[in-house]
């Protein structure tokens, strides 16, 4: 890039003199910095003009550089808008997934405290939620809500009420009481839930499935908090590089139908809460420069795939693949990003209220498991059929044989014939409610009853509804 001298000068200037003076120094790096600032600010100005009601925005912060940069940008953007009559405050949410990643209680306390200090400095209301809370979520999380046609049309009284509410949530105790319904204040969780979470993650046999499940549960939790506290938008801090990796790994996971929602700017699948990704134009390199230059505080928190080898999971493999390819072909990430911009999600012809059952139970995307005659999915089913004896034949024979057959399937059964028909049927039932890639995740799961209660209840409900429908049709 530029010479070391120029860079050093630029940084020094940054500490004493405001931004415009940087332009006088080394052209190359200043041009880089100046463009970055302008672009980032511009992007936020634009997104804020679209979403004028900032109090309905929830920022999902993981502690990493990208989400913390997003937080600092929001702060800066808002401070420039300060002269307006009411001061709206976005909320911050952090999900503490230490229970799934195997971090100790002390480590979690430590990182939570660090994050708390960052959040309190911003002055925004924040929620530090532990992943264990998924075990007390209601089933409404799995049902897409209907979106308010005109969210910015608040009456004056409502706006004032909200403002007063925001003012109140500034103090710590009130933050705690606001989330009291989930009975957490500062990431407190019950021992029972902790064990349940550990059981859930140990029943997932592959790291790929674990990461997928973690992502799903995190989304559900964020969605719930957003709904409970009246937030209609959630901002995620995914950078361009992260999204390119996600696009490729989603292709490998079979999520082709939902690529646009998973990696696009806005993700409307939940109906009333929209997920937006304002940082998707910035590569991780740009974000790193930005955080360095503007001293953005961030906390590194190890995740599921930290320090694992390249082939530990599909997501990890894709990340190392893209990063390596990027060093040889510098346009890789931007090309993948451009490809993702040209995709869209096929929406079913009418509103979600008509057919809730046609959405996947876990990821809430439209089901892509229609058995088209000539498709990869159909081919998979044919292969499954051809490689094993039909199950109906088996049930007529001795039950001992069915146990043997299950074992050769590789279901991971223990000795003593634990594969009763119960387990088989629960796997089958769940499968019909899931999209292609969620099926693969559940396939890697040994005990489907370790799923959180809200998922199991909703699954049973949908299954009963389906059976009733069939019964009525047959009449």
């Amino acid at each position: 890039m530029c010479e070391v001298e120029g860079d050093y000068n630029g940084l020094e200037c940054n500490q004493k003199i405001p931004v415009p003076t940087l332009n006088r120094k080394c052209m190359k790096c200043k041009e880089g910095a100046a463009v970055l600032i302008i672009r980032v600010n511009d992007a936020f100005c634009r997104s804020f003009s679209i979403y004028t009601d900032c109090s309905s925005v929830l920022l999902a912060v993981s502690g990493g550089a990208a989400s913390c940069s997003m937080l600092s940008q929001v702060q800066e953007g808002l401070s420039r808008e300060a002269p307006k009559k009411l001061r709206f405050m976005p909320g911050i949410i952090y999900i503490d997934d230490g229970g799934a990643c195997g971090r100790s209680a002390e480590e979690r306390q430590r990182s939570n405290a660090l994050l708390k200090s960052i959040f309190t400095e911003t002055g925004f209301p924040y929620f530090i939620v532990s992943l264990e809370q998924v075990f007390s979520l209601p089933t409404s999380v799995l049902v897409p809500g209907t979106s308010d046609p005109d969210p910015s049309n608040l009456s004056y009284k409502q706006a004032v009420d909200q403002y007063v509410k925001e003012k109140q949530t500034l103090t710590e105790e009130n933050v705690a009481s606001a989330v009291a319904q989930l009975s957490i204040g500062d990431s407190v969780y019950s021992h029972k839930h902790k064990l349940a979470l550990e059981r859930l993650f140990s029943s997932l046999k592959t790291l790929t499935a674990k990461e997928d499940m973690l992502q799903t549960l995190r989304q559900h939790l964020i969605l719930h908090i957003a709904r409970e506290n009246g937030y209609s938008k959630v901002m995620m801090g995914d950078s361009c590089s992260r999204l390119a990796v996600r696009l490729l790994s989603n292709i490998a996971l079979g999520r082709g139908a939902a690529l646009a929602s998973d990696t696009g700017f806005s993700d409307p699948r939940y109906g009333d809460v929209v997920i937006v990704r304002p940082m998707r134009d910035y590569s991780s390199k740009e974000i790193a420069f930005y955080s360095r230059m503007f001293n953005v505080p961030s906390v590194f928190i190890s995740g599921l795939d930290t320090k694992t080898h390249d082939k530990a999971s599909i997501q990890r493999l894709t990340e190392s693949f893209v990063t390596n390819l990027q060093s040889d072909f510098p346009s890789t990430v931007s090309t993948i990003y451009r490809t993702s911009e040209k995709l869209h999600t096929v929406m079913p012809p009418q509103s979600q209220s008509a057919e809730p059952a046609s959405k996947c139970l876990l990821c809430l995307c439209t089901l892509d498991t229609k058995e088209d005659k000539a498709s990869a999915f159909h081919a998979t089913l044919v292969s499954e059929q051809l490689s094993q004896i039909k199950l109906q034949d088996l049930s007529l024979d001795a039950p001992g044989q069915s146990a043997e057959q299950c074992c050769t399937e590789g279901q991971g059964c223990g000795p003593g014939g634990c594969c009763s028909s119960n387990k088989l049927s629960s796997h089958q039932d769940l499968k019909t409610l899931l999209c292609y890639s969620c099926r693969l995740t559940i396939k890697d799961m040994v005990a489907t009853n370790s799923l959180p209660p809200y998922i199991i209840t909703e699954a049973e409900k949908r299954q009963k509804r389906w059976e009733m429908l069939l019964h009525n049709l047959n009449k």
């Binding site: 592959t206 790929t208 696009l247 490729l248 989603n250 292709i251 490998a252 996971l253 079979g254 999520r255 082709g256 139908a257 690529l259 390249d310 082939k311 999971s313 599909i314 493999l317 894709t318 693949f321 390819l325 890789t332 090309t335 993948i336 451009r338 490809t339 040209k342 995709l343 869209h344 999600t345 096929v346 892509d368 005659k373 000539a374 498709s375 990869a376 999915f377 159909h378 081919a379 998979t380 044919v382 292969s383 499954e384 051809l386 490689s387 094993q388 004896i389 044989q401 043997e404 057959q405 050769t408 399937e409 590789g410 292609y436 890639s437 693969l440």
Partner: protein
Amino acid sequence: MPVQCSNCVQRRAVLKRPKTGHSLCKDCFFWAFEEEIHQTIMSAGLLNRGETVAIGASGGKDSTVLAHVMKVLNERYDYGLNLLLLSVDEGITGYRDDSLETVKRNQQQYELPLKIVSYEELYGWTMDAIVKQVGLKNNCTFCGVFRRQALDRGAMMLKVDKICTGHNADDVAETVLMNVLRGDIARLRRCTAISTASDGEGAIPRCKPLKYAYEKEIVLYAYFKKLDYFSTECIYSPNAYRGHARAFLKDLESIRPSSIIDVIHSGETLSIKEGVKMPVQGTCSRCGYISSQALCKSCVLLEGLNRGLPKLGIGKHHRLHGKILAQEPLTEQEEKKLKPVDF
């Protein structure tokens, strides 16, 4: 403790299917493999009764297995097809000449008529000569484009109704990944199609009966059936971009064996926004072959080779098409960009 075959349960299993992980005995595996191809052909309506079908045969494992299975299924299910072998000689010494010997042996083993077309007779250039001019980096482009046309020309000479190629699941998955990495949205949409659109105006439709068959299973099938095939990689392929996609796919397969089909599923279910610029099919003004530009790719490539400007076909050059058609000389600046890299 020997594992029993999960299909017939009587015989001992000799292999584990890479696709599903089931353990099968030899006969059940053969049957499952052939049956899946049969299902693919039937459900996609690939072939019709009485048609003459050319099987693209290179002597490699995919085309050998394809020829064998097509013959078996043609007899078993009475497809009523007229099968023949079509082979392309690219002129790569030490690779293609050996594999052609294999094809000639296949012709005798399967008792199918054989036709060989060569780059030399069609274009006046062999791959060896092309690589000498182009270098080792972009030569796969030349070979692929020329081969496609060579197959079509050969098929037209034989007056066939359809062409079958041995593209397997790994190939299709690699193509999906490569198209995402290269940002080729038009190809991304088309590459998962099991057969090319048959417009009825000149181009002979092509299909891939092995589209859902794993490469590993094809190898297992060929091995257990003791089929005669040529198993060396093309000597010019190591530097191809496709190699990256292939390495990635192989790693994916080692993590989760169903990844290959999952990638194909993603490729089939993804949808492109409306309003994205797509190429329109037309014909080449020089040779009449189908093309989305004024000049088809092979005419452009050939022109470049003949003029000593091998980079003419690589990268964007639509503006030069007019000049080429009008046989005008290119300016010095344009020529400089298109000359081969000089060390």
